[in-house]
């Protein structure tokens, strides 16, 4: 009997502190994270054949890794934001049912904000389906220009730069170097063509001359050598640089140092515009990259960065604006005083017209950031970061 009483006392004492803790516990803040099980972007494409065999970590390219680092990095904000941050992940097997699945997941898990890693066509279906909830959705991987210029949705924010921001950055660099005559090589995919089209638009804006646009094909067929042999592809033309649009990179890998004339190679290989590159050494970037690499045993990609910075944006908005009347992420993100630190130099914020995160672009080779866009010589009347990407006058969004 005595033993039982002692046991009871022990149990009661051990329960009390838990109760006290519970009373103090912060409110849950749930971030929904959605991606697709079958997503060609995370296939083995673009990974070097040696890495496919030896460095398995390179194969797990999904940017959820960036979101998880972001969660770790925003934990210290919890005290100030008075919430507890959680990521609720859902990987969707069946593309057709994705919008319904996500809607149910949001309802069942009290999701406060959404990070989404979908290709643009599937992304739009989800955005439309959950539009009535008025929940902010952050696109961390689709670079589609139309999402920023013609197909607009007030709930949809983008932390990944658009194709146009990337191609404008390259065009600024070429213009600055006075490498004005460009030979274009475009791949067979729709996405290759979209990339190439974006570059053509950028070339117009920054005064470059496209001497010719040729289509390449991956293969060794001698009957198609005008499309698969680099000497033919890059011969009989005068140019300062060769631009390649090749989403899968398998062809573009072999272009640098193999052009018919000595020439810079840019675009999908050679000098590539990126949201993030591991070799950048300034502005606290090595600390972010170091934390990522220690966590995941691989380099941090632009998509990883976009997911990481989306998490930071959420914490920043809560800490600075949660006490304001009628707080919503929609208004906080485009508030003039919203200032986000992306470890890329300047302070970042969202363009109010198309909800694209303003940011510098790293023009990098495989192992060095050669230059950062916007380049110093390009000046905008309001914010120099708006010299790259779709400016308010050219976007139908926000009107």
């Amino acid at each position: 009997m005595q033993i039982i009483i002692i046991k009871l006392i022990i149990i009661i004492f051990s329960i009390i502190p838990i109760n006290i803790l519970c009373a103090k516990e912060k409110k849950d803040f749930n971030i929904g994270y959605y991606d697709l099980e079958k997503d060609i972007r995370y296939d083995e494409w673009g990974v070097h054949p040696v890495d496919i065999r030896s460095n398995k970590n390179q194969l797990y390219k999904r940017p959820i890794a960036g979101a998880r680092l972001g969660l770790k990095d925003i934990k210290p904000f919890q005290r100030m934001a008075k919430v507890k941050f959680n990521i609720k992940e859902l990987r969707i097997k069946d593309i057709e049912s994705a919008p319904d699945n996500i809607l149910n997941h949001i309802k069942n898990n009290n999701i406060n904000i959404v990070l989404i890693d979908f290709p643009s066509s599937e992304l739009l279906k989800v955005v439309e389906k959950i539009s009535f909830l008025n929940i902010a959705i952050i696109n961390i991987s689709s670079k589609n220009n139309e999402l920023r210029s013609t197909i607009c949705n007030d709930n949809l924010f983008h932390t990944i730069p658009s194709e146009r921001m990337l191609s404008d950055s390259l065009a600024q660099y070429l213009s600055d170097k006075k490498w004005r005559k460009i030979l274009m090589l475009t791949g067979p995919l729709e996405r290759d063509k979209a990339k190439a089209y974006s570059f053509v638009e950028s070339a117009k804006q920054f005064g470059l001359k496209i001497v010719e646009n040729r289509n390449f094909l991956l293969g060794n067929d001698p009957r198609a050598r005008d499309q698969n042999d680099l000497d033919f592809l890059t011969g009989s033309a005068k140019y300062d640089a060769v631009y390649i649009a090749d989403t899968h990179k398998e062809f573009s890998y072999k272009v640098p140092f193999a052009t018919h004339k000595p020439s810079a190679v840019i675009g999908s290989s050679g000098l590539t515009p990126r949201a993030w590159h591991w070799s950048y050494l300034r502005h606290g970037a090595p600390q972010v990259h170091g934390r990522f690499e220690r966590m995941n045993n691989r380099r941090m990609s632009g998509e990883d960065w976009a997911a990481w910075v989306a998490m930071r944006a959420i914490a920043e908005a809560l800490v600075r604006f949660k006490d304001e009347e009628n707080f919503s992420f929609h208004t906080a993100f485009i508030n003039d005083n919203f200032k986000l630190d992306g470890s890329k130099g300047p302070v970042l914020n969202f363009r109010p017209w198309n909800r694209q995160l303003r940011q510098p672009i790293m023009l990098s080779t495989e192992n060095w950031v050669t230059s950062i866009a916007p380049l110093e010589s390009f000046v905008h009347r309001e914010n120099n970061l708006d010299t790259i990407g779709i400016d308010s006058s050219k976007s139908k969004c926000g009107k």
Partner: protein
């Protein structure tokens, strides 16, 4: 001709003897610069502005503090995970302090016995006994990417700026506890106490402002903003302070804007902007407040500023990416 040669060689010998004498003599009137890109320390004569010596340090030297009692200079060698102890008489590294990973900025307790360093990569602060060179304790979770470290003038507390969390973490280094956390602007880099110790000033590099914290209530009592015609707000990236010893002035380096702001510490008004070099960041004042020296991180030089004229009077090329400047006078 031969006479002339002898004369020249004599002059060279004499001047090198003189330099030798200077470097072995009293430690007064020197400027020391840590060059984080070239792993060395430049030593400059404060009166003639001649470079007296360039000495090798550990890898990526950053913050430095001079200890007059032992005539030694402590240099945080970030990539070597240590603080070098340099004997300023012999200009040799005579010892190392344990610091933990990647020490960047540190401060020394008013009694000169203990150093507290920020470990940027590990989100920690390390308390070190200077005499033995051993770690006393490590304080974890001091925000993300802790940088600026300052002992309160009474030596009881340490204020740490956390770049990634946008807060100031106030710790008790003697108990190893976090006492308080204060939200400031974006990317707080460095801090400095007012002369009376009642205020803690913090530079917010990305916010482009300076937050002033009341050290009794731990609340923000004022925020200084900077505005100069011809400079965009995004260029204004405050980093370091030099607080004048006698006057009521604070000198604040504004990074990318290439200017140093002069602020009245009584009413927080920005009085003037002084042009310096590219990415001006480190700053130090002579004890008579007459000369301000700043490091220009992107032009590999330092600017000497006359504080009466409020103008740069000279710039001196030093090593690559000069980080911190200290004046021994």
């Amino acid at each position: 001709m031969s006479l002339k040669k002898i004369n020249i060689s004599l002059i060279i010998k004499f001047s090198s003897l003189f330099i030798l004498f200077m470097s072995f003599g009293a430690q007064a009137d020197k400027v020391v610069i840590s060059n984080e890109g070239s792993d060395n320390i430049t030593i400059i004569d404060l009166n003639s502005y001649e470079i007296l010596n360039t000495i090798d340090s550990g890898s990526r030297p950053r913050d430095m503090h001079y200890i007059p009692e032992t005539e030694s200079l402590l240099v945080a060698a970030s990539e070597d995970d240590t603080i070098n102890v340099i004997d300023m008489k012999t200009l040799q590294i005579v010892g190392n302090l344990e610091t933990g990973d990647d020490p960047e900025i540190f401060d020394i307790s008013p009694d000169g016995k203990v150093a507290v360093v920020s470990n940027e990569d590990d989100n920690e602060a390390t308390v070190i006994d200077i005499k033995s060179g051993k770690i006393i304790r490590v304080i974890e979770d001091v925000g993300i990417e802790p940088e600026g470290v300052n002992f309160s003038p009474d030596g009881k507390l340490v204020f740490i700026t956390s770049e990634g969390t946008n807060t100031i973490i106030i710790i008790d280094p003697w108990m190893g506890e976090i006492v308080e956390e204060v939200l400031v602007g974006n990317r707080p880099r460095r801090g400095a106490f007012s002369k009376n110790g009642r205020e803690y000033w913090v530079t917010n590099e990305l916010g482009g402002t300076v937050s002033i914290i009341d050290t009794k209530t731990f609340s923000i009592k004022h925020t200084i903003t900077f505005e100069k015609k011809g400079i965009r707000s995004s260029e204004i990236t405050p980093v370091d302070f030099a607080m004048s010893h006698k006057a009521n002035l604070a000198y604040i380096t504004l990074g990318r804007s290439k200017h140093v702001a002069v602020v009245n510490t009584d009413n927080y008004e920005v009085i003037d902007y002084i042009l310096a070099g590219s990415r001006v960041w480190g700053a130090a004042l002579t004890s008579d407040d007459k000369t301000l020296i700043v490091t220009n991180g992107q032009s590999d030089d330092i600017s000497i500023i006359d504080t009466d004229k409020r103008a740069s009077i000279k710039s001196i090329a030093v090593g690559r990416t000069p980080h911190t400047v200290r004046i021994i006078d």
